[in-house]
Subunit: 348 residues, 2 copies
C-alpha cells in the first residue's frame, strides 16, 4: 500500500518537488512545457496527491460539513441538494453527517469537524442543549444553522422558512373559505411550535378560539409515524371539538393521517372536512390526497445557507444576518368552502 508520492514524480522527471507541487496547485509560475511533462508523468505513474498531507501544509481543507437530521427522511434532501450545488460550484467538498435524531451524534460530528479542520459547518440540531452550545462556542469553525433556530444569545446565524407566517397564511385561507371551527394538530418541535404560534395569533386576530390537539407521547418525525400521529389525533379532536370543519395539520404526513381517519369513518374530504398540512412534500400532491399545504423553496433555502457560510468563511463584511424564507400557499383539493349542509348542521 505504499503509493506514489510527489517525490516519485519529481525524481521520475528529474525536477524538484516544488515544481510538481506548483503544478498541483495551478501555480502561474510554471513553464508550459514543464507543465505538460508533469501532467504526462502523473498520468503514467497514476499519482494521486495525498489530501491529508496537503491539508497539514495548507491552512484550509476546503471542506465543509453538513448534518442530515435523519437519513431516512427525504424531507431534508432538497435542502441538502441546494447546499451541495453551491459548495461544489465554489470548489468546496461537502461532507454529510447523518444524525438520526441523536443529540450525541450531533456533538460527535462537530468534534469530528474540528479534528478534520473543516472550513465551515451547516448544522441541523434537534435541540440546542447547553453542551452543544458550549462546544459550538469553543469551535473556531464558522457555523450556520439550517432549518433550526439557535438561541439568540448564541450568535449563530440561521436560515429557515417563515413557518409562523406560513401558518398565518393557512389560517387566512381557511377562514376565507368560511371556516370558523379550525383545529390545529401540533407537532411538538421548534418548527411545529412556530407554526402553532402563527395559528394561534391568526385565529385570535379573527376573533376565533384556537383549538390545539397534541399527542405528546407519540413520535411524529418519520413519515409513517406522522401519519399514525394524525390518524390517532382524530378521535380526541372530534370528541373535544365535534363541530370542527377544518383541520390544519402541522405537517403533510400528519394531514394524510387525518385523511386516513376520515376515509375510514366515512368523513368526506373536503365536503365534510377541509384538511391542510405544511411542508409541501411530494406525497401530498398524489391524486389520492391533493392536499392544500404551505410550501417554501427548499432548494433555495439550502443554497442560501451555503452562501451565508461561504461569506463567513471569506470574512466578507462582519454582519452575519439570519435569513427567513417567505412561504406560499399551495392550493389543492383537500380544502373547500364551508358548505351549506355543514353550516345548517351547526345551526341546529
Amino acid at each position: 500500500m505504499c503509493l506514489t508520492t510527489i517525490r516519485d514524480v519529481a525524481n521520475y522527471l528529474g525536477v524538484s518537488v516544488s515544481t510538481v507541487s506548483r503544478y498541483l496547485n495551478n501555480h502561474p509560475d510554471l513553464n508550459e512545457e514543464t507543465r505538460q511533462k508533469i501532467e504526462k508523468a502523473i498520468r503514467e505513474l497514476d499519482y494521486v496527491p495525498n489530501s491529508a498531507a496537503r491539508n497539514v501544509s495548507r491552512l484550509s481543507t476546503r471542506t465543509i460539513g453538513l448534518t442530515i437530521p435523519d437519513i431516512q427522511d427525504s424531507y431534508f434532501s432538497d435542502n441538502a441538494y441546494g447546499v451541495e450545488r453551491c459548495m461544489l460550484e465554489n470548489g468546496y467538498t461537502l461532507i454529510y453527517g447523518s444524525l438520526n435524531r441523536s443529540p450525541k451524534r450531533m456533538l460527535d460530528f462537530v468534534q469530528y469537524a474540528r479534528e478534520m479542520r473543516f472550513d465551515g459547518l451547516i448544522i441541523t440540531p434537534e435541540e440546542w442543549s447547553e453542551e452543544l452550545l458550549t462546544l459550538l462556542r469553543r469551535t473556531e469553525i464558522p457555523v450556520v444553522a439550517l432549518r433550526r433556530r439557535p438561541p439568540e444569545t448564541s450568535e449563530i446565524p440561521y436560515v429557515d422558512a417563515d413557518h409562523y407566517g406560513g401558518a398565518c397564511r393557512m389560517v387566512e385561507h381557511l377562514t376565507g373559505l368560511g371556516h370558523r371551527s379550525i383545529c390545529h394538530i401540533l407537532l411538538n418541535t421548534d418548527i411545529g411550535r412556530e407554526r402553532m404560534r402563527g395559528y394561534v395569533d391568526s385565529m385570535e386576530r379573527c376573533g376565533l378560539e384556537p383549538r390545539i390537539i397534541s399527542l405528546p407521547e407519540m413520535p411524529a418525525h418519520k413519515t409513517m409515524d406522522a401519519i399514525a400521529y394524525g390518524r390517532e389525533a382524530m378521535p380526541e379532536l372530534l370528541s373535544r371539538y365535534p363541530d370542527t370543519t377544518a383541520v390544519f395539520a402541522s405537517t403533510d404526513p400528519i394531514g394524510i393521517g387525518v385523511m386516513e381517519y376520515a376515509r375510514n369513518h366515512g368523513i368526506c374530504v373536503p365536503d365534510d372536512l377541509s384538511v391542510s398540512g405544511s411542508g409541501d412534500l411530494e406525497i401530498a400532491s398524489l391524486s389520492w390526497f391533493e392536499m392544500t399545504t404551505i410550501a417554501f423553496e427548499r432548494y433555495e433555502l439550502g443554497r442560501r445557507a451555503a452562501e451565508l457560510l461561504l461569506k463567513m468563511i471569506r470574512k466578507e463584511d462582519g454582519r452575519k444576518e439570519s435569513i427567513l424564507f417567505d412561504t406560499h400557499l399551495v392550493l389543492r383539493k383537500s380544502t373547500a368552502h364551508l358548505n351549506d349542509r355543514k353550516e345548517k348542521e351547526k345551526l341546529l
Copy 2:
C-alpha cells in the same frame, strides 16, 4: 485560526510531544499520573488533534466512503443505515458521497476517496462504464458494490437482493391466484432487468406468454417520475393486452402509478385488476394502496456489505464472495383471486 497543537500541550506540561502522542493513541506504556495530567491539560487548553496530520503519519485513516445513488430518494436510506451502524461499531468513520445519478460524480468520488486515502469504499454506480472500471482497477482501496452488480471480470464483490428470485416468487403468487394474463412493467436498469428475467423465466415455466411493457424514453427513478411512468404505461398495456388481469410492476411507485390509472378509469383493484410491485417501500403500505410487493432486509443488506468490506480491509481469508439476499413476498390487498366475473368476460 492558529489552533493549539500537540506541542503546545507538551510544553504546557513540560513533557515531550511523544508522551502526549502516546496519550492520544491509547498507548499502554503511559504512567497513570501522566495520563491524567495530560487529560486535564487537553481539556484546559481545548486541544483538538489534527486528523490530517495524524493521517499523514499513520497508514490508515479509519474512514470509509459510501455513495448514495440519489439523496432525494429515501429508498436507499435503510441500506445506508445498516452500513453506518456497522462502521460505527467498528470505529470507522463513514463519509457519504451523494451521486444524484451522475456517472461523473461517481468517478469524482472514487478519486476523492483515493486522495483522502480512505480505507474502503462501498459504491452504488448507476452504470459500469469502462472509465469507472479502469479507475476502480487502479484503485488500491478495497471496494464493495452495494445493490449493484459489477461485471464478473471486475473481481469486485457485491451485496444485492435476489431480484430474480423475488420476481419468480411474485409470478408464482399471481399464477397461484389463478391469473394467466400477467403483464410486467419494466424498469430499464440492472435491477429492473434482473426482475424481468425472473418474470420471463417464471412465466415460461408455467407455459404462459411473457408480456412486457416499457417506456424507454420516460424517467422512472424518482418516486414521482416512477408513479407517472406506471400511469403512462397503462394505455399501451391495455391496448396491447386487453385481457390482462394482473400487473406486476418493477417497482412499488410504478405500481402506484398503475393504481392511479385504474382509479381514474373505474378499474377496481384488486377486483378487476391485481397490481403488485417490488421493493416494499413505506408508501406501498399506506391504506390507500395496500400493495402486494417483494421485500428484503434492507438494513441487513447494508450491514452485510459493511462486514464484507471490513473483512477485505483486514485481509481476512482471501475469498471475497458476493452475497445475494433472499427476498420474501409481502401479501397485501392489491392482489386477489382471479374472480369469476373477469373469467366470464374473457370467455366471451
